[in-house]
């Protein structure tokens, strides 16, 4: 039963990702990506990691994807980019990369398929994660806060408009 659920969720995740990355419209792509992330979150749940599943939904699907949506809305792209995007969907662009990725995938799967081990999952509760997060991993939490600070400062600076002249150029 769980195994079947896992395959279904996996298939959904893969298919949604595939569709998302071949969309022309960014918003459509994002919706598919959210679906994919939800499917992965479900897999986390199946693997006995409910806390991870919740985080995946809240942060990935909830926060990061919404960030994308904001930016796309701010840019108000419309259909300007669509033409270029369609041009590059012809085979000459994707055939070599696809072959490369196929080779890499074969390599990965050859090794992974040889893995023989039975999983005996134990449900890891949020409490246990909390204990180890503020036990051995407490420094990771602190450093992660610095990392977010760096991201914040960098994004704030980069995203800022430079000057009035710049703004006028934008509007014009």
């Amino acid at each position: 039963m769980t195994l079947a659920l896992f395959y279904i969720a996996g298939a959904i995740a893969l298919a949604a990702t595939g569709i998302a990355l071949t969309r022309v419209n960014a918003i459509h792509a994002l919706i598919y990506l959210v679906v994919s992330l939800l499917a992965v979150a479900f897999i986390f749940f199946l693997l006995g990691a409910p806390f991870a599943a919740v985080l995946e939904i809240v942060i990935y699907a909830g926060a990061i994807m919404v960030l994308f949506v904001f930016v796309i809305m701010m840019l108000n792209l419309g259909n300007r980019g669509t033409v270029v995007e369609q041009e590059m969907m012809n085979p000459s662009v994707w055939i070599i990369p696809s072959l490369l990725c196929l080779i890499l995938l074969i390599e990965l799967s050859l090794s992974i398929a040889s893995l023989k081990s039975e999983t005996n999952p134990i449900v890891v509760s949020a409490k246990e994660i909390g204990i180890s997060l503020f036990g051995p991993y407490v420094l990771a939490v602190e450093i992660a806060s610095m990392l977010l600070l760096a991201g914040l400062v960098a994004a704030n600076h980069i995203g800022r408009r430079l000057s009035k002249m710049d703004q006028e150029k934008d509007e014009g």
């Binding site: 990369p97 490369l100 990725c101 080779i103 890499l104 390599e107 990965l108 050859l110």
Partner: protein, 610 residues
């Protein structure tokens, strides 16, 4: 004693300062820094010398190990013994006088600061050379003085001829240096060390006297000495090196650097004694060089070239002394030669300075009254050079010739060569004095040497006379010589032969009693004189023997296989550069594809799928 490392350091720091300020300092400061640093080093040497004489045990100061690879641990370490002390004193003492002289001689030169930077750097490198306790550090100093010599010969680089002279000096000595480097490699490979004391010790244990390997090693190292000291067959660069400023010729090409070859052999005498063959070669080379250079000096009329050939000739005497095992005599002559030859060069510099840069002695004359200080210095310098009795040169040359006589088999022949050289030396040195200072005045001096030029001349005059009385602390360095004094007549000839030469010179050039013109102008003799004038046509010989065949082969090979091979390297490098540059096309996707290719290949390789 602990401040020994400061001796080379002070001139080095001064040179670094002068280079860093790049001529922005006022000349006054440059002069003070340039001459002052040498004076400071000289005072330190004096201090160290006094201490050393009180307790004359050799000591070495290990500063640090440069690198350590298995057994091979070349160190930055200085070794102080009597020999090093003598050399240091000569370098800093004579060096200081020459620097002082230079402050006046060069004062109108635009590159005043550059000059002192090079000179200080030279002194520093020379001090490292004589203080080094291992051959690698010595080689560093060796190359350092080579560079400084190159820079100073080509000091007035605006004239292409000077540049050519500098290059010639550099390339010819480089041939010797390469040979020396090969010798050092051989020593490291065979003995595993370059420390001078250890080399001597291990060599004695491991090798038999006269075996092949020590002979090859000594011959190769000797090659370096021959190049640096302008001995046959590498002597051709020194006359051209006179293109540099005269005080630098006095310091580098007379007093110190050119005698480095003598120092090299003396310092490693225990190694050289392993090979009697090389020792005989040294003495024969010495005699050949001293005769050849003396004949050439006789026919020159450029004031500085005469002195240059006489330097080659005098170093020939030193090599002769080394070859017969009279090391302390060689070093003794090195020291006295440093005094009187520096004196002569500085005197020549004063003449040239006061005579609108005139070099031709036959355009001078009658300067006896006009430039009295210079005249007296020349007279004293030439007497010492000719080894007139009781001058410093007399003591040292006498010692060399007497030691030569007592050598079995070859001895008398070498002695005869030395005596012939002594006569010639006396003739050409007094020819110089008579032609320049007597007779009618052909060029009128426009100025007089000032105090800063006269004072060094006077001090060097004193040393040139009494320098022979200095007792050098060399007993512990060299094996004691058997002072087998030669029988009466030999000793008398040795001691007085120079007077004959002076007399001949007097008759020929001052009195002109014997009119030799008709004989000299006979075609055969004229050719011979020209042959001598050209330095036994060595340059032409090398041109025919080496340069032209080289150029010929080069031009033949230009289109040939070997060159094509080298061009292929260049072309393939450039072609692969171009090809690789094309891959850097700036497209993110290309880069990403490359990244994936890399991951795929790496994964395939590591997991063994390929």
């Amino acid at each position: 004693m602990e401040n020994l490392p400061l001796v080379p350091l002070i001139p080095f720091v001064s040179a670094a300062l002068l280079i860093a300020t790049a001529g922005r300092l006022p000349k006054m400061v440059v002069g003070l820094l340039g001459a002052g640093s040498i004076a400071a080093a000289g005072l330190l040497v004096l201090n160290i010398g006094i201490e050393f004489l009180r307790d004359p045990t050799p000591m070495s100061i290990h500063l640090w190990t440069w690198i350590s690879i298995n057994e091979f641990k070349p160190a930055f370490a200085f070794y102080l013994d009597g020999l090093a002390l003598v050399m240091m004193s000569v370098i800093t003492g004579v060096g200081f006088l020459i620097h002082l002289y230079s402050t006046e001689f060069m004062q109108d030169d635009a590159s005043f600061s550059r000059y002192f930077a090079y000179m200080n750097l030279f002194v520093s490198a020379m001090l490292i050379l004589v203080l080094a306790d291992n051959l690698l550090l010595m080689f560093l100093g060796w190359e350092g003085v080579g560079i400084c010599s190159y820079l100073l010969v080509g000091f007035w680089y605006q004239d292409p001829a000077n540049g050519a002279a500098a290059r010639k000096a550099f390339i010819v000595t480089r041939i010797g240096d390469t040979s020396m480097a090969l010798g050092l490699f051989l020593l490291v490979a065979e003995l595993g060390t370059l420390n001078i004391l250890e080399v001597a010790e291990i060599a004695k244990e491991r090798w038999e006297v006269g075996a092949t390997i020590p002979t090859i090693a000594c011959a190769l190292i000797l090659g370096g000495g021959l190049g640096k000291s302008a001995q046959l067959p590498l002597q051709t660069w020194l006359p051209d090196a006179m293109a540099g400023p005269t005080p630098c010729s006095a310091l580098i090409h007379a007093a110190t650097m050119v005698t480095a070859g003598v120092y090299l052999v003396a310092r490693n005498h225990e190694l050289f004694m392993m090979s009697p063959l090389v020792m005989s070669a040294i003495s024969i080379i010495g005699v050949a060089t001293l005769l050849l250079a003396a004949f050439t000096a006789l026919n020159q009329h450029d004031l500085k070239k005469i002195l240059a050939y006489s330097t080659i000739s005098q170093i020939g005497y030193m090599f002769l002394a080394l070859g017969v095992g009279a090391y302390s005599a060689a070093i003794f002559h090195l020291m006295t030669h440093a005094f009187f030859k520096a004196l002569l060069f500085l005197g020549a510099g004063a003449v040239i300075h006061c005579l609108h840069h005139e070099h031709d002695i036959f355009k001078m004359g009658g300067l006896r009254k006009k430039l009295p200080v210079v005249f007296w210095s020349f007279l004293i310098g030439s007497s010492a050079l000719a080894a007139l009795p009781f001058t410093s040169g007399w003591y040292s040359k006498d010692e060399i010739l007497l030691a030569t006589w007592s050598v079995p088999t070859l001895g008398p022949w070498l002695w005869a060569g030395g005596i012939a050289g002594a006569v010639l030396t006396a003739i050409y040195s007094f020819r110089l004095v008579f032609v320049v200072f007597w007779g009618e005045a052909k060029t009128i001096p426009d100025k007089q040497p000032g105090l800063r030029m006269s004072a060094p001349l006077i001090i060097l005059c004193v040393f040139s006379i009494v320098g022979g009385l200095i007792n050098m602390p060399l007993e512990q360095v060299f094996p004691s010589q058997t002072n087998a004094h030669a029988a009466g007549p030999v000793a008398w000839i040795t001691m007085t032969i120079a007077i004959v030469g002076v007399l001949v010179s007097y008759l020929l050039y001052l009195r002109q009693q014997i009119n030799v013109e008709p004989i000299l102008n006979k075609p055969a003799l004229k050719k011979l004189r020209y042959f001598w004038y050209s330095g036994w046509a060595m340059d032409a010989l090398y041109d025919r023997l080496l340069v032209r065949p080289y150029k010929l082969t080069a031009s033949l090979l230009k289109t040939e296989l070997i060159d094509r091979f080298y061009n292929l390297i260049v072309e393939s490098s450039v072609a692969s550069h171009r090809a690789l540059s094309i891959t850097q096309n700036g497209k993110l996707r290309t880069y990403a594809i490359n990244l994936v290719v890399g991951i795929a290949l790496l994964a395939a390789f590591l997991t063994g799928i390929v």
